[in-house]
C-alpha cells in the first residue's frame, strides 16, 4: 500500500492561484463525477487524467503536478471544459501550469519553434524573409506556366490588397508545391490577396509554450503590419491552431484592428455558393470515401458547429454527398486527434500515439479512404498515426481536393494523394 499522504494544512498554491486567476477556475468545485475523464483521450497517459490532475490540485499535491509532464500530453482541446457540469476550466489550468515551467525546461521542440519565430520575425522554422520571398516568386513563376494560370499573382506586402493571407511555414520550407493549390483557388475566384512580411508564419508555438508575451508579440506584429497594408480581411489558411492563436489572441491581448478575421473555409463555402469555385464530385466515379476531421481549434474552441456545417458543405460539394462518411462523434463533440497543443513538438511520441488511438479508431470505423484535415497539426498527426498503426488511408488538405475537382491540380501537388488519384486529370 502506498504511504498515506498527509493532507492537513497543505497550502494549495495551485488551487488558490487558479481561483484567483482563472475565470471558471474554482477547482474545488469539482464533483469528481468523471465527465472530463470519460471524454478525454489523454486519460491514462502517464497514469494521469483530468480528474486526477484536478484532485491533486484540490488536495494540495502541488509538487506532484507543478512539473508533471502530462501537461504537455494534454492538448488543451477543451472537450472536458465543454461539458464539465461545474464548468471548471481545466485547459486553462494546464496552460497556466505550462507557463510555470522554467522556460528553458519546457519541451525543446516547442521552445525552439517559438524562439525561431520571434527571432526571425517570420515563422517557427526560422526561414528568412528573403527565402520566403524567393520561394513565392519562384513558385509563382512556375505556376504561371501551367495552363490557365498565366495571370496568377502571388505577392508580399501589396498595399491595399483586400485579403491578407497567412502561411504556415511548413509548406515554403519542406513542401513548397503544396502552396500552389491554394494560390490556384484564390486565382480562380479572382481574389485580391497578398502575403504579409512581418510574422508571416501562421503557426504559433509560443501559444503552445504558454509564453503569453511572445504569443502576443507575434499576433500584435502581424496585426499592426496588416493594418498598415490596409487589408480588409485577414484570412487564415487551413490551419486550426493558427486560427485560434489569432482569434483568441485578438481578444486575450485586446489588440485593436479594423480588418475582419476569417477562416479560408468560410470563403471556400461562400465561393462555392456564389459559383466562383465551380467544384463538383463528377471526378469521384469510383466512390472513393472521405471523412473529415473537425479541428478543435476551429470548431469547438472558436467558431462552433456552424463552422463545422460549412466545412461539411465544402467537403460534400467536392467529394460528393454519398462519398462522405462522418466520424462519430463530430462537430463540437469531436475528439482531438492528439496533434494539438504542441504535442507534435513536445517529444512525448509514445503518449501522442496512444492519445491518437481514439482518433485512429474513429477514422477506421468510417472505412474512409481519405481523411480531410483542414489543419496542419491534424494533418501531421492523422498522417503519422496512420503510418504508426499501419493503416492505408490518406490524409489530405481541402485545397488538394478542390483543385483536383477543378481539374487544376498539378503533377507535383499530389504528395498526399493515394495511387488511386495520383494520375487523375493529368
Amino acid at each position: 500500500m502506498t504511504e498515506a499522504l498527509e493532507v492537513t494544512g497543505n497550502p494549495s498554491r495551485i488551487r488558490d492561484k487558479a481561483l484567483a486567476l482563472i475565470p471558471d477556475g474554482n477547482l474545488s468545485a469539482c464533483l469528481t463525477c468523471g465527465t472530463c475523464t470519460s471524454g478525454c483521450p489523454a486519460t491514462g497517459q502517464m497514469d494521469m487524467d483530468p480528474r486526477k490532475f484536478l484532485r491533486m490540485a484540490v488536495l494540495g499535491m502541488d509538487e506532484t503536478i507543478e512539473r508533471h509532464p502530462w501537461v504537455w500530453v494534454c492538448t488543451m482541446c477543451k472537450r472536458c471544459y465543454d461539458v464539465c457540469p461545474m464548468s471548471i476550466n481545466i485547459p486553462q489550468l494546464i496552460y497556466d501550469l505550462r507557463a510555470e515551467w522554467p522556460r528553458e525546461e519546457r519541451p525543446k521542440g516547442i521552445l525552439g519553434s517559438c524562439d525561431h519565430h520571434i527571432k526571425s520575425c517570420g515563422g517557427a522554422m526560422g526561414v528568412s524573409l528573403e527565402d520566403f520571398k524567393f520561394t513565392i516568386e519562384d513558385l509563382a513563376e512556375e505556376c504561371r506556366e501551367q495552363p490557365g494560370f498565366k495571370a496568377l499573382k502571388a505577392d508580399l506586402d501589396r498595399q491595399g490588397a483586400f485579403f491578407a493571407l497567412n502561411q504556415n511555414s511548413r509548406e515554403p520550407v519542406t513542401e513548397p508545391d503544396e502552396m500552389l493549390p491554394l494560390w490556384k483557388i484564390l486565382h480562380t475566384v479572382g481574389a485580391d490577396w497578398t502575403y504579409y512580411s512581418k510574422m508571416w508564419g501562421g503557426e504559433n508555438y509560443c501559444m503552445f509554450l504558454a509564453d503569453d508575451p511572445s504569443w502576443e508579440t507575434i499576433i500584435r506584429t502581424q496585426v499592426e503590419h496588416i493594418e498598415k497594408l490596409g487589408c480588409k480581411v485577414f484570412i487564415n489558411t487551413e490551419c486550426g491552431h493558427s486560427f485560434y492563436a489569432v482569434w483568441q489572441g485578438l481578444q486575450r491581448f485586446n489588440i485593436p484592428h479594423t480588418f475582419e478575421f476569417k477562416s479560408i473555409i468560410e470563403y471556400y463555402a461562400q465561393w462555392i455558393r456564389e459559383g466562383k469555385l465551380p467544384v463538383n464530385a463528377d471526378w469521384n466515379t469510383h466512390g472513393i470515401k472521405f471523412t473529415v476531421q473537425d479541428p478543435c481549434n476551429l470548431i469547438r474552441k472558436s467558431l462552433g458547429d456552424t463552422m463545422a456545417d460549412e466545412l461539411r458543405f465544402v467537403v460534400k460539394s467536392v467529394v460528393g454527398e454519398d462519398n462522405f462518411i462522418d466520424m462519430t462523434p463530430n462537430h463540437s463533440m469531436n475528439f482531438c486527434c492528439g496533434g494539438g497543443g504542441g504535442s507534435l513538438q513536445a517529444g512525448f511520441t509514445e503518449e501522442r500515439h496512444a492519445y491518437g488511438t481514439v482518433k485512429f479508431n474513429q477514422i477506421m470505423a468510417t472505412g474512409a479512404d481519405y481523411v480531410i484535415t483542414p489543419c496542419h497539426n491534424c494533418h501531421a498527426q492523422v498522417e503519422d498515426i496512420g503510418h504508426h498503426f499501419e493503416a492505408t488511408y490518406h490524409t489530405v488538405h481541402l485545397w488538394t481536393l478542390i483543385c483536383l475537382s477543378l481539374g487544376s491540380l498539378g503533377e507535383n501537388e499530389r504528395t498526399y494523394l493515394g495511387p488511386d488519384l495520383a494520375e487523375y486529370g493529368l
Binding site: 493532507v7 471524454g39 457540469p85 463540437s332
Partner: protein, 1011 residues
C-alpha cells in the same frame, strides 16, 4: 380601504396529483374549490407514469379513484384549458383573472364515444405519449382522463385553421362539436390560492452532448415511461424506436439537466431521478429478464422511505448494474448501425471503457417553466435563484404573498409522496386562513327519500353499455341485452351507448321509477371508477344504493378478448347471469352514522406534534398534546439551523410560545398514554403523568412521537472528546462554544449507523446537516481545513446549492466504500483519520482536531402505541403509513394520522409540512361532524358464534370484540364503524357465523351456480 368579506373558496392552479389532493382535502373540509388546469384534463405527470417507486404500484390504478372523486365532487369546479392571468386583492378575497381556451366541444353534450377521433384526418404529436406517437386533432388526453371530454387542437384542426373538413361535427352523435366556440376570460373571487403547476421536464433537444436529436434510440425518462406503459405506444413492449428491434442493453444516464451549471442552468438536484431510473430498470428487466440494465450515476440518491432497500434489491436481486461515472457524451456509430456508444471512466481500472447500448435513457431533471416563473413573479410570489417558490422552513407552503400557497414541484423538486404531503399542508394553510367562511360556499345534496322494498319480489333492471366502441366493437351488446331479458326476475333491459353520460343517468333514474325496479345490474366498465356513479343514480331514484351490481364487460371481455368476439359475448352473458343471480338476493343495507368527537389528540410535543396541534387549533379544534418529556421541542431543542439558514431555536421558541398560549391546546408534559379505547370519531384515552391520570375523548389522533439519534460505538465516539455526533456539534454551535473557533482541521464521517446491514435505510437529513455544519465552521474560520468522508452525497433538491457552496469554499469531499471504511486513531495532539481517496486510490492521513459523526436517525419502535391504535410498524421501526405514495400521513386505521420523524427521517420543513398534512386529513374527518361507514361490513350471527376469538385476533382494524354482558355475552360482534369489509374474519370463522354484507355466502354461491 374597506375590509372585504372573507370567501370560503380556494383556487388551485394545476391539476396534477398535488392540486388534486389539495382540492379533495379542501372540498371535504367545507371549502369550495376551483381547480384550474391548463390542459384539457387533470392528472398531470403522474397520469403519464407506468409504475411508481418504490412499490411499483400501477400509477393510473392508484390515481384513478382520486381523479374520479374530483370529477364528481359537488364542491370542486374543474376549469380546464385555463390559466391564471393575474391576481388582485388580498388574503381572504382575491380576484383571479383566468384565460380559458376554447375547447370547441360542448362538455355537457360530449359523451366521449370517440367517433370524432376515429374519423379525424389530422395527425399531431401525442403530448401524453411524449411525442412518440401521433394522435388526432380532436382528442381526449388519455383514456381515463377526467373530465373525459374531447377537445380540438385549434392550431392543427383543418376546420379551424383552413375552414375545411368538419368531419367531426358530422360524426358526433351528440352534436357536441362547436367550431364557433371562443376563448374566454373569467374573473373568479376566492379567499385563497394554491399554486401547484408542477414541473417541466428538462428538454435535452438542441444539444449535441447526448445525441438526443441524433437518434430515436436516445430517449428521455418520460418517453421511456411511456414505452414501459401498457397504455403507451408499444403496449408496454420496450423496443428501439429506430427499428423496433428488441433491445439487449439499456443505459440510464443520471443528472441530465440537473446538478449542471454548464450545459444548462440547473444547479439543483431533481430529487426523483435516481429512484425512477431504478424503478424503470427493474420494470424493464421484469419485462425481459435477459436485458442488461446499467445506470450511470454520480451519487445514488435513494433518500426516501423504502428507497434504499429498493436500490439494494435492484443490485442484488434484479442484477441492475450501477456504474459511478457521469459520462461525457453519447454518440452513434459511423456506419449508421443501431447502438449508441458510451465511453465511461471505469473507476476500478482508471481506464476509459467503451460500451454500446441499444437504448439510452436520459434521466431528465425537473425545472420550472419560464411561463410559471413569469406568472409567479407577476403575482408577487418570490422565487429562489433556482426558480422555485421561496418559502420558510417553519411555514413550508406559504409563498411570499400572503394568502397564496404552494405545493409540489414549484416549492422545490420532489416526488409524489412529498407533493401529496405538501398538498395537505397547503390545503390546511389555505383553509386556516378562511375558517370564518368555512361552509359558506359549499353545496350539499338533498337526499331523496328511500323507498322501502321489504317484501317486494325482485324486479331486476339490466343495462348493458356499448362504451362507445370500447365494448360494442367486440361484444354483441344487443345480444347480451336480449339474453338478459330471459333471466329470472329481470323485468327491464336496455343498452346504452354510454351508460355513464349524464342523460343516460337521468334516463335510468326515470326507468327505475316507472318500472318499479328494485335491483339493478349495469354491465359496463370498471366498478372501481364507476360504482359510486351508479349508486348515486339508484339513490336519486329512491333505491337503496346497495341493491346494485356492476359487471365489467370492458376490461374483462372486450379489451382482453378482442380477437374472439363470439366467446367474449358468451362470457359477457354468463357474467350478467351471475350478477342477476346475485343481485336478486340483495337486501337493502344500512350505513352506520357516527358522530365525530371534535377534539384531537396529538402524541408527541416535538416540532411535528406542536405544528400539527397548532394547525388543528387554527381550524378551530381543541387539541391535547401528550409529551413524554417535561419540556416541548423534542429533537429540535438540539438543532442549530435549517438548510435555509433559519435559527431552529428561534423558530422553536415561537412555536412553543404559540402552543403554550393557545387556549385551544392542552399540554400534558411528562406524560404518556396508559390506555386507549374506542375508534375513529370516539377514542377514549387515559393520560398518565406520574400518579395523576386524565381521561380524554377525541375524534382523531395524530402520532408524532419522533425518533432519536444513533449513539455510535465506532470511530472513538465516547472515548475521545474530540469525536462528536451531529447533534453534539449543533449543541456546541447553539452554545457558541469558543473551542470551535480554534479548530484548524475538521472531519465529518457520513452514514454512521445508516445504510448498514442492521439499519439499511438512509437517514435523509445527515448529508445536508453536515454540509450546513461545514459551512458554519468555515464561517467561523475560513481557513479551517474541512473534510467530509461520504458514500453518496444526498443533498437533494435545492439543498444541492449548499453542497456546491461547501466545495467552492474548499470543503473537500472524499468518498469511502463500506469495505474500506475510514480509520480513526488518537494521534495525541490530533486525531489521525485515514481514508482512501476515491480518485487517487491512495490513503490520505488527515490530522484533525474535530471529528463529527453523521449518525443515523433511529426510530423508537413504539410497540405499545402501535398496539393501542392498531397501527403497523415497518421492519425498520418506523410507523407504516396507509400508502407510501398517496396516503403518506394517514394510517390504514381511520382517524389516526402520522407525521414527523416517527414516519421517516426528515428535516424541519418537511416535518412541519407533514404535520399540517396530518392535520388537514384530520380536519377532513372532523369537519364532517359525522361519518357514514360502508354498508359492506361483516356481521355476526350470534346463534352460530362459538366465541372463539379468532376474528378478534385476525382483524387488522380491531373491529371484532367479544360481547361482555347481556344475552349474547361471550359472542363476537363487529363494530361496523371500524370494519373495512375486507372479509378476513369471515374467511377465518370456523362456525360460519360471520357474513360480509353484499358478499354473503348465498349470494356468492348463487353466482357460482350460474357459471
Amino acid at each position: 380601504m374597506s375590509v372585504k368579506e372573507t370567501l370560503g373558496s380556494v383556487l388551485i392552479a394545476g391539476g396534477g396529483i398535488g392540486g388534486i389532493q389539495a382540492a379533495l382535502d379542501l372540498a371535504n373540509s367545507g371549502y369550495y374549490v376551483y381547480l384550474v388546469e391548463k390542459s384539457p384534463s387533470i392528472g398531470g405527470v403522474m397520469a403519464q407514469l407506468d409504475k411508481t417507486f418504490p412499490t411499483n404500484d400501477c400509477s393510473m390504478c392508484i390515481m384513478s379513484p382520486k381523479l374520479v372523486e374530483v370529477g364528481r365532487h359537488l364542491n370542486i369546479e374543474l376549469l380546464t384549458l385555463a390559466e391564471i392571468q393575474g391576481v388582485s386583492g388580498e388574503k381572504g378575497n382575491f380576484e383571479v383573472a383566468l384565460f380559458q381556451k376554447a375547447r370547441y366541444v360542448d362538455m355537457d353534450k360530449c359523451i366521449a364515444c370517440g367517433a370524432c377521433t376515429e374519423k379525424c384526418p389530422v395527425k399531431v404529436e401525442d403530448v401524453y405519449n411524449e411525442g412518440l406517437v401521433t394522435r388526432k386533432a380532436i382528442y381526449a388526453l388519455y383514456p381515463q382522463a377526467v373530465p373525459l371530454k374531447y377537445s380540438i387542437d385549434a392550431d392543427k384542426c383543418l376546420k379551424l385553421t383552413k375552414g375545411k373538413c368538419g368531419i367531426c361535427a358530422k360524426k358526433c352523435p351528440a352534436g357536441a362539436i362547436n367550431y364557433e366556440d371562443t376563448d374566454k376570460t373569467l374573473a373568479i373571487n376566492v379567499g385563497a390560492i394554491i399554486l401547484s403547476p408542477g414541473f417541466k421536464a428538462y428538454d435535452p433537444s438542441g444539444k449535441d452532448i447526448y445525441n438526443y436529436d441524433g437518434s430515436p434510440d436516445v430517449v428521455t425518462s418520460l418517453e421511456f415511461e411511456r414505452l414501459l406503459s401498457a397504455s403507451g405506444p408499444n403496449q408496454g413492449h420496450v423496443v428501439r424506436m429506430s427499428d423496433h428491434g428488441k433491445p439487449k442493453k439499456i443505459a440510464w444516464l443520471q443528472c441530465v439537466g440537473s446538478r449542471d451549471i454548464n450545459t444548462c442552468n440547473n444547479a439543483h438536484c431533481s430529487s426523483v431521478c435516481c429512484m425512477y431510473a431504478i424503478k424503470q430498470a427493474i420494470i424493464a428487466k421484469e419485462h425481459d429478464p435477459s436485458l442488461e440494465c446499467t445506470i450511470f450515476y454520480m451519487d445514488m440518491r435513494t433518500h426516501g422511505k423504502g428507497f434504499e432497500s429498493c436500490y439494494n434489491e435492484a443490485k442484488e436481486k434484479h442484477g441492475i448494474r450501477f456504474v459511478r461515472c457521469r459520462v461525457h457524451s453519447v454518440f452513434g456509430q459511423a456506419t449508421g448501425e443501431v447502438g449508441q456508444i458510451i465511453d465511461y471512466l471505469d473507476e476500478t481500472t482508471g481506464k476509459v471503457t467503451r460500451e454500446i447500448y441499444d437504448i439510452v435513457v436520459l434521466s431528465v431533471g425537473m425545472e420550472i417553466s419560464p411561463e410559471v416563473k413569469a406568472l409567479a413573479q407577476n403575482m408577487g410570489v418570490a422565487l429562489t435563484p433556482g426558480g422555485f417558490a421561496k418559502t420558510d422552513s417553519f411555514n413550508p407552503v406559504a409563498t411570499t404573498r400572503e394568502g397564496i400557497y404552494v405545493c409540489g414541484a414549484l416549492q422545490g423538486p420532489k416526488d409524489i409522496p412529498q407533493s401529496v404531503i405538501e398538498a395537505g399542508s397547503a390545503a390546511l394553510s389555505a383553509g386556516a386562513s378562511l375558517t370564518t367562511a368555512r361552509g359558506t360556499l359549499t353545496r350539499a345534496l338533498t337526499p331523496v327519500q328511500e323507498n322501502d322494498i321489504t317484501g317486494e319480489r325482485p324486479r331486476v333492471g339490466v343495462f348493458v353499455c356499448h362504451c362507445g366502441i370500447n365494448i360494442g366493437s367486440v361484444v354483441d351488446v344487443p345480444g347480451v341485452r336480449d339474453f338478459a331479458k330471459g333471466l329470472p326476475f329481470v323485468e327491464y333491459v336496455a343498452d346504452n351507448l354510454y351508460s355513464c353520460s349524464q342523460d343516460t343517468q337521468d334516463a335510468i333514474t326515470k326507468v327505475i321509477k316507472e318500472q318499479k325496479l328494485n335491483r339493478i345490474v349495469v354491465a359496463a366498465c370498471s366498478p372501481r371508477t364507476h360504482d359510486p356513479l351508479f349508486q348515486e343514480t339508484l339513490l336519486n331514484a329512491g333505491l337503496n344504493k346497495y341493491l346494485f351490481e356492476m359487471v365489467n364487460i370492458r376490461n374483462h371481455n372486450s379489451w382482453v378478448h378482442k380477437d374472439q368476439p363470439l366467446e367474449a359475448t358468451i362470457k359477457a352473458q354468463e357474467m350478467v347471469r351471475m350478477a342477476v343471480a346475485k343481485v336478486a338476493l340483495f337486501t337493502p343495507l344500512t350505513e352506520a352514522e357516527l358522530s365525530i368527537d371534535q377534539n384531537a389528540l396529538v402524541i408527541g410535543g416535538g416540532l411535528s406534534g406542536m405544528a400539527a396541534a397548532k394547525a388543528l387549533s387554527s381550524q378551530g379544534y381543541h387539541v391535547s398534546i401528550v409529551e413524554k418529556d417535561q419540556t416541548l421541542g423534542g429533537q429540535a431543542t438540539h438543532l442549530f439551523t435549517t438548510a435555509k439558514g433559519e435559527s431552529i431555536q428561534k423558530g422553536l421558541q415561537e412555536l412553543v410560545s404559540d402552543v403554550t398560549r393557545d387556549e385551544n391546546i392542552d399540554l400534558f408534559l411528562g406524560a404518556e398514554l396508559s390506555e386507549v379505547d374506542g375508534f375513529v370519531g370516539s377514542f377514549h384515552s387515559t393520560i398518565t403523568q406520574k400518579e395523576h391520570t386524565t381521561s380524554t375523548t377525541h375524534g382523531v389522533t395524530i402520532i408524532a412521537t419522533g425518533a432519536t439519534e444513533y449513539q455510535p460505538d465506532e470511530y472513538l465516539y465516547g472515548k475521545d472528546p474530540r469525536v462528536l455526533t451531529g447533534l453534539d456539534l449543533d449543541r456546541k454551535f447553539i452554545a457558541e462554544d469558543p473551542a470551535l473557533n480554534t479548530v484548524q482541521s475538521a472531519v465529518f464521517i457520513q452514514c454512521v449507523g445508516s445504510r448498514e446491514p442492521g439499519r439499511p435505510y438512509c437517514s435523509r437529513i445527515c448529508c445536508t446537516h453536515t454540509v450546513v455544519s461545514a459551512l458554519h465552521l468555515k464561517e467561523k474560520n475560513p481557513s479551517m481545513q474541512i473534510f467530509v468522508l461520504y458514500r453518496d452525497i444526498r443533498t437533494y433538491g435545492e439543498r444541492e446549492a449548499l453542497y456546491q457552496e461547501a466545495r467552492e469554499k474548499g470543503v473537500i469531499f472524499i468518498r469511502y466504500s463500506t469495505d474500506d471504511k475510514p480509520v480513526v486513531e488518537d494521534g495525541g495532539e490530533h486525531l489521525t483519520i485515514t481514508v482512501t481517496d476515491h480518485v487517487l486510490k491512495r490513503p490520505l492521513a488527515i490530522q484533525a482536531d474535530l471529528l463529527t459523526l453523521a449518525t443515523a436517525v433511529v426510530p423508537y419502535r413504539d410497540e405499545k402505541l402501535a398496539q393501542f391504535f392498531k397501527v403497523p410498524i415497518n421492519d425498520e421501526g418506523f410507523f407504516a403509513e396507509a400508502h407510501v405514495k398517496l396516503a403518506p400521513s394517514n394510517f390504514a386505521v381511520d382517524g389516526v394520522f402520522l407525521c414527523g420523524l416517527a414516519h421517516y427521517p426528515k428535516p424541519v420543513d418537511e416535518s412541519i409540512a407533514q404535520a399540517q398534512a396530518a392535520a388537514s386529513s384530520a380536519t377532513r374527518l372532523l369537519s364532517g361532524k359525522t361519518i357514514n361507514t360502508s354498508g359492506n361490513v361483516a356481521a355476526v350471527n350470534p346463534a352460530l358464534c362459538s366465541g372463539c376469538g379468532v376474528c378478534e385476533a385476525i382483524c387488522p382494524y380491531n373491529a371484532p370484540s367479544l360481547i361482555t354482558d347481556g344475552r349474547d355475552a361471550g359472542k363476537a360482534r363487529i363494530n361496523p364503524v371500524i370494519c373495512k369489509g375486507c372479509g378476513a374474519c369471515v374467511a377465518s370463522c370456523r362456525s360460519g357465523a360471520l357474513q360480509l354484507k353484499g358478499f354473503e355466502e348465498g349470494q356468492l354461491m348463487a353466482m357460482i351456480d350460474n357459471i
